[in-house]
C-alpha cells in the first residue's frame, strides 16, 4: 500500500489534525477558543501550534497588553492547502479500500475538505 500524494505527516497526528481542522473553518481563532474547543491544556496547545508554525502552516499573532492580551491563530494559505491535500489523501485511502471498509463508507464523509 502506498501513501497517496498530499498525505501530510506534520498534520496527521491527532491533536494537530484537530487543530488544523478547526482553524480551516475559520479566518482566525482565539488561542483560548482553540484550547477550550479541543479540551487541551495551554502548554499542549502551545506545543502543537509552534510545531505547525515552524512548518509554515499557521501564524500566531499577539494583540493588546495586560489583561486584554489575546493570541490569534490563523491558518496560512500553505497550511490550508496542506490540510486539503491531507484530507484528499485520507479519502483516497478510504476509497481505495473499497467495500471492505463498508462500515466506514456508510458514515458521513464530513465537510472536512471544504
Amino acid at each position: 500500500m502506498s501513501t497517496p500524494a498530499g498525505f501530510d505527516e506534520v498534520i496527521h497526528p491527532a491533536t494537530r489534525l484537530s487543530v488544523v481542522a478547526l482553524l480551516a473553518a475559520t479566518e482566525w481563532a482565539d488561542f483560548a477558543f482553540v484550547r477550550d474547543s479541543l479540551s487541551l491544556s495551554d502548554s499542549a496547545l502551545s506545543k502543537q501550534l509552534h510545531t505547525l508554525e515552524g512548518a509554515g502552516y499557521l501564524e500566531i499573532q499577539k494583540e493588546g497588553g495586560g489583561r486584554n492580551r489575546r493570541t490569534k491563530v490563523r491558518l496560512t494559505d500553505r497550511g490550508r492547502t496542506a490540510f486539503e491535500g491531507h484530507v484528499a489523501a485520507l479519502r483516497a485511502i478510504v476509497d481505495s479500500a473499497g467495500p471492505a471498509t463498508g462500515a466506514a463508507q456508510q458514515q458521513p464523509r464530513t465537510e472536512a475538505g471544504r
Binding site: M1, P13, A14, A21, T26, A44, L90, A97, Q105
Partner: protein, 206 residues
C-alpha cells in the same frame, strides 16, 4: 509530501492492529500526543476513516460558536435597534441639510463603534468559504424587509405631522428589524452548519 511513508498507530483504541504489529525492525517515533509513528507502512483505511471523522468534531465547535455569536448578542441587537430608532426618528423630523449630515455621521460612527466592539469580543471569525449564499440572502432579505417597512410607513404617515410620522416610521422599522433578525440569524447559522451535508450525503450513498 516527499517524506517517507509512515503508519500512525493510535495505541489506545486499536488492539487488533496492535496484534498485527510485527515489524521488529521499524523505527518508532513518539510525537507526544498518544501516538507512535512507525516509519515503514502507509496509514490504513480504518485509521484514515477515523481521522476523517475526527475532523468533524472541531469544525462543529466552530459552527456552535458562530451560532452562539449571531444569535446570542443581546446587547448588540438592542444597541443597533436603539441607534436605528434614534436615527430614523431624527431623519423624519425634516432636519436642515447640515443637521441631517450630523445625524448620518453620528449614526455611522456609533454603528461602526458597536461593530468594532462586537468583533473584539468574538473568539473566532468564520472562514469566508464557509459562508454560503443562503446566509447573505438571509441578511439581504432582512434589509429589504426593514427598508420596505420604512417606505411603506413613510407613505402611510404622509398626512401626519413630520415629527409623528418620523416616530411611527422609526418604531415600525425597528419592530420589523427585531422581529426579522432572530429568524434571519437562525436561518443563516443553520445554513452554515448544513452547508457540509451534500458531502456527507455523497459519502453515505456510496
Amino acid at each position: 509530501m516527499g517524506q517517507p511513508e509512515a503508519q500512525y498507530r493510535q495505541t489506545s483504541d486499536l488492539p487488533a492492529r496492535k496484534a498485527k504489529s510485527n515489524f521488529p525492525d521499524r523505527k518508532v517515533i513518539g510525537d507526544g500526543d498518544g501516538r507512535e509513528m512507525a516509519v515503514s507502512m502507509p496509514v490504513d483505511a480504518e485509521q484514515a476513516w477515523k481521522d476523517l471523522q475526527r475532523i468533524r468534531v472541531p469544525q462543529e465547535r466552530v459552527y456552535d460558536e458562530f451560532e452562539r455569536s449571531v444569535s446570542g448578542g443581546r446587547r448588540m441587537t438592542y444597541g443597533t435597534a436603539a441607534l436605528m430608532w434614534v436615527f430614523l426618528a431624527g431623519v423624519g423630523m425634516d432636519l436642515p441639510q447640515w443637521g441631517l449630515g450630523v445625524f448620518v455621521t453620528a449614526y455611522v460612527g456609533l454603528l461602526s463603534l458597536l461593530i468594532v466592539m462586537s468583533s473584539r469580543r468574538s473568539r473566532m471569525q468564520l472562514h469566508h468559504t464557509r459562508c454560503p449564499g443562503r446566509m447573505w440572502a438571509a441578511f439581504g432579505a432582512a434589509g429589504v424587509l426593514v427598508g420596505g417597512t420604512i417606505v411603506l410607513a413613510d407613505h402611510l404617515t404622509e398626512p401626519l405631522e413630520p415629527i409623528y410620522a418620523g416616530l411611527i416610521q422609526a418604531t415600525a422599522a425597528v419592530a420589523v428589524y427585531l422581529l426579522s433578525l432572530r429568524p434571519a440569524n437562525r436561518w443563516a447559522a443553520d445554513s452554515v452548519r448544513s452547508s457540509g451535508e451534500p458531502a456527507a450525503d455523497e459519502g453515505a450513498g456510496r
